[in-house]
Symmetry: C2
Subunit: 171 residues, 2 copies
């Protein structure tokens, strides 16, 4: 895919976009982006809908996906199942335009607030990946716990959109 702009990252977690992590004070109270990648080279990403605040998905970025997201303003992830950089929407058209991007206190998690072309983010066809709720407290009486569907209908037909691409869900 021709991404149309210069990729600033090197392999690994080094990039001119990122500062080295030197102290707790710098990381928590400072102004420099100094992300922490885990032992797999990944940082978790929480993606919510800009308008509604709904949680759409939870994914991961490697250093290159993070740099591409910052530079392009569109969400890039790292697919653990495919072990590949992943421009969200490249197959489905459901591109996520980043309206706001935040990082947490210890800089080991990214928050994207996005607008989604097509208003869907889940490979199963729902608007949000989190289309089922769990009972908590006294109502959680059944064993195993029984889930309730919170979205009644799928937003799109995954077979039409993804064809016979392998399902990323792993058991």
């Amino acid at each position: 895919m021709d991404i149309g702009w210069e990729v600033m990252t090197e392999q690994g977690s080094k990039s001119p976009l990122f500062a080295d992590r030197l102290s707790v004070e710098q990381v928590e109270e400072g102004h420099e982006l100094a992300p922490k990648f885990d032992e797999r080279g990944l940082i978790p990403v929480v993606t919510t809908a800009y308008a509604s605040g709904e949680l759409l998905m939870h994914g991961y970025m490697n250093a290159e996906a993070l740099a591409r997201t910052i530079e392009s303003g569109e969400a890039w992830y790292y697919s653990r199942s495919r072990q590949a950089l992943w421009h969200k929407g490249a197959t489905s058209g459901l591109v996520q335009k980043v309206r706001e991007m935040r990082i947490d206190d210890d800089q080991d998690c990214v928050w994207l607030r996005v607008e989604v072309v097509g208003d869907a983010s889940c490979h199963v066809g729902y608007r949000s990946c989190f289309y089922r709720s769990l009972p908590v407290g006294e109502t959680a009486g059944q064993r195993p716990v029984q889930l309730q569907f919170e979205e009644r209908e799928k937003t799109f037909d995954p077979v039409e959109v993804y064809g016979d691409a392998p399902n990323p869900t792993q058991l």
Copy 2:
């Protein structure tokens, strides 16, 4: 700490609350809670404010924390830095009451929508852990990327609340 209710979990990821993961269809389209724990025995958790939708924190649960959250209606996590089960608010008083709990398509991530006693969730003292934003696209010109504070003032003084407890942030 006396938790006042029966702990249903065994060690590991087995619990009468959880079904075994048998097929992609069961996991994605079924009604049984069949969570996937990673190679560390953990599942990531996204916690948002029930009223505002704001992302408060990103953490992890082991099987016992997940079971305790379901049964108590208060958020329990697993602290990777302290390597211990963690009843959020036990030290700070900032207990998270779970108003809604969801799970994602492949059941490897939990979403908690909570009300927080004291309206703060971040150990640094801010309301949300995600108190800094990043510029994206053409505005992201500086190297390294410069963060902007989105919360002007801390909600509480962490020294007063946590005393000399070790800071969980790791470099």
